[in-house]
Amino acid sequence: MAFEGLADRLQGTLQKIRGKGKVSEADVKEMMREVRLALLEADVNFKVVKEFIKRVKERAVGQEVLQSLTPGQQVIKVVHEELKDLMGGEQSKIAVANRPPTVIMMVGLQGAGKTTTTGKLANHLRKKHNRKPLLVAADIYRPAAIQQLETIGKQLSMPVFSLGDQVSPVEIAKQAIQKAKEEHNDYVIIDTAGRLHVDEALMNELEEVKEAVKPDEIFLVVDAMTGQDAVNVAESFNNALGVSGVVLTKLDGDTRGGAALSIRSVTDTPIKFAGMGEKLDALEAFHPERMASRILGMGDVLTLIEKAQSTVDEEKAKELEKKMRTMSFTFDDFLDQLDQVRSMGPLDELLDMIPGMNKAKGMKNINVDDKQIGKVEAIIRSMTKDEKLHPEVINASRRKRIALGSGTTVQDVNRLLKQFEEMKKMMKQMTNMQKGKKKGKGFNFPFMQ
């Protein structure tokens, strides 16, 4: 199938090696072939892949992999490290001009998400940096592009500067900066029209805008689903304008996003932000390490852990751990957990981040529905205090009452009670396991700490 992670890909090769006890150079060669395929399937440009494989192979054929007891894992580790290095450090800083306003120009192909990103960036600047941005509608070509930005401006209660679609983008940009000075806006974000990198006339227009307003940042907006052509796009825009940063959009989809690597390696420009949804606050700093995992199909565990850390109360977690060990976990605790998990975001989004839970991999039957959780919550809230603490007292008539009270059926109640029992058992096993030497390995869900 099309979407296999590197780990899955290496399985077959590793099975062959397992019986041998020693890894030969031929085996490494075969593994490198799998690495190559995994990267190509992730849409990393083939030239970039070639270079990359050369480097990894050197390390792999060296002592590191051949002598290790777990060559497969070693290969994945080396690949992951190299990817991480290539992707560079995390850089989500935005320039500040000595004399305001700071001017940011948004450029890219049609449909990459420039206008939406313009709104998100403005929101980010206001929320995180306490700035007062002015949005500039300089896309005079696409029908209703100006209205789109104006609507976004309204949603954010932010000013949008436009002169309609009969004035040249250069003129619009110039006047916008004048306006920003008058109104004391410290940032100006110019939304330009999408254009093909081979369209000389329109590329010249961008150069003219750049010449006229001397932007402090030029952000290239790229769709994360872009294929092999990403290198051409990035190179052309970079050569024409000198891009200062990249925003990768639509990363909330199920694309591997190999384009990120391609862009990085041909432009050497940092990827600063990632678009993670259609809402105007769905802009995140770009994390190279996570991207490396994602390209390799290893899931986005780090994001998940970070989300968990920012929402889970440390004290509560400790208390919980104790409860789990002693099997005194109650429905009240369960409710608490649900709340915490839910505050991390929509569940299917969370599940997507766990390796192996990727929906493209035969997990389609698991449709996580936030409504289902609402149901569970209703059932628990319909229990008496005593029932929550000692679920074993819940008999048939109590079940009926709970179902009635929560607007569910007795079957729903039964199911929950059974699941809860199983969960308790599982937790005990988990905590026992963790007391052993396995600590720190594997992924800990908040209530499994």
Partner: protein
């Protein structure tokens, strides 16, 4: 080189404007592909492992996708062995023949399923930013020129400015647009549009939808609902569900085709933005693995830049400079 000749003949039969437009739009695609192909043949005169490896890369660089490329290379290797082809130049026509075969089914005409009598409903689906609204505008223009009475449904009630965008296209082309307020239920818009199409006696209703990523379960359910509403009102509809795919998209297009296909029974693909350097090779993979045909191709931003997809012409576009050279010999 009978296959090239066949292509060439077919091509000269077509009206000049159509073929010129196609060639013009595909210039970038063709140039890079055929130049590389020529280089490849010149650098590797002998059909051997090395040649196939290079060919594999050429195809992968067009986003054809690893699985499909491997299959294709296997077929070519077999063919080379069977026909005892040692010379790479001779293999060229086999390559393009196999490519065209892959895109083309004998008994298929690739035309849109337009009803002779009564209302034809076409639903457009796809991820964000692929060009659904623009494609609808262009198709409306095309159909209107063919003498059809066209109506548009502004089913993208979510994205800022989407309704206005379709409205502008409606004005440009001179067709009516049925719209509700932003944020309203898109299924209701489609329902109203069907009623309105009936009372106006429209021939074709084109339904826009909001772009959505295929892994968003709720949004995919919403699409299913829109389709159900159409089915209830027009029992044999929608007559086409067209998945719009951006030619610059890589392997994710496969996942798009799969999941949109599951939700809405996609009947055809519109490949947009093929006038850049992107080659849209992923349609080969989609055809190969999922058997969904490409029906329309977007070749620019102008109103008449939408063409019916013809596999032979597509391959001709890719190889035309090779074919022309061949003619000169």
């Amino acid at each position: 080189m009978s296959f090239f000749k066949k292509l060439k003949d077919k091509f000269t039969e077509q009206s000049d404007t159509v073929s010129e437009k196609f060639k013009e739009g595909l210039t970038k695609t063709r140039d890079s592909f055929s130049t590389k192909m020529n280089d490849l043949v010149k650098n590797y005169r002998k059909v051997d492992e090395e040649f196939f490896e290079e060919l594999e890369e050429l195809l992968i660089s067009s986003d054809v996708g690893v699985v499909t490329v491997m299959d294709l290379i296997d077929v070519l290797k077999d063919e080379a062995r069977r026909q005892n082809i040692k010379d790479t130049e001779k293999l060229q026509s086999v390559i393009s023949e196999k490519l065209a075969e892959m895109l083309h089914k004998e008994d298929e005409d690739g035309a849109l399923n337009i009803q002779k009598d009564g209302l034809t409903v076409i639903l457009f689906v796809g991820v964000n930013g692929v060009g659904k609204t623009t494609t609808i505008g262009k198709l409306a223009h095309k159909l209107k020129q063919d003498g059809k009475k066209v109506l548009l449904a502004a089913g993208d009630t979510f994205r800022a400015g989407a309704i206005e965008q379709l409205d502008v296209w409606g004005e440009r082309v001179g067709v009516d647009v049925i719209k509700h307020q932003a944020g309203s239920d898109p299924a209701a818009v489609v329902y109203d549009a069907i009623q309105s199409a009936r009372s106006k006696g429209s021939d074709i209703l084109l339904c826009d939808t909001a772009g959505r990523l295929q892994n968003k379960v709720n949004l995919m359910n919403e699409l299913e609902k829109m389709k159900r509403v159409i089915q209830r009102e027009v029992p044999d509809g929608p007559h086409e569900v067209l998945l719009v795919i951006d030619a610059t998209t890589g392997q994710n297009a496969m996942s798009q085709a799969k999941q949109f296909g599951q939700a809405t029974d996609v009947s055809g693909i519109v490949l947009t933005k093929l006038d850049g350097t992107a080659k849209g090779g992923i349609v080969l993979a989609i055809r190969h693995e999922l058997d969904i045909p490409v029906k329309l191709v977007g070749l620019g931003e102008k109103m008449d830049d939408l063409q019916e997809f013809d596999p032979d012409t597509f391959v001709y576009g890719l190889f035309s400079s090779i074919i022309e050279e061949d003619e000169e010999e």
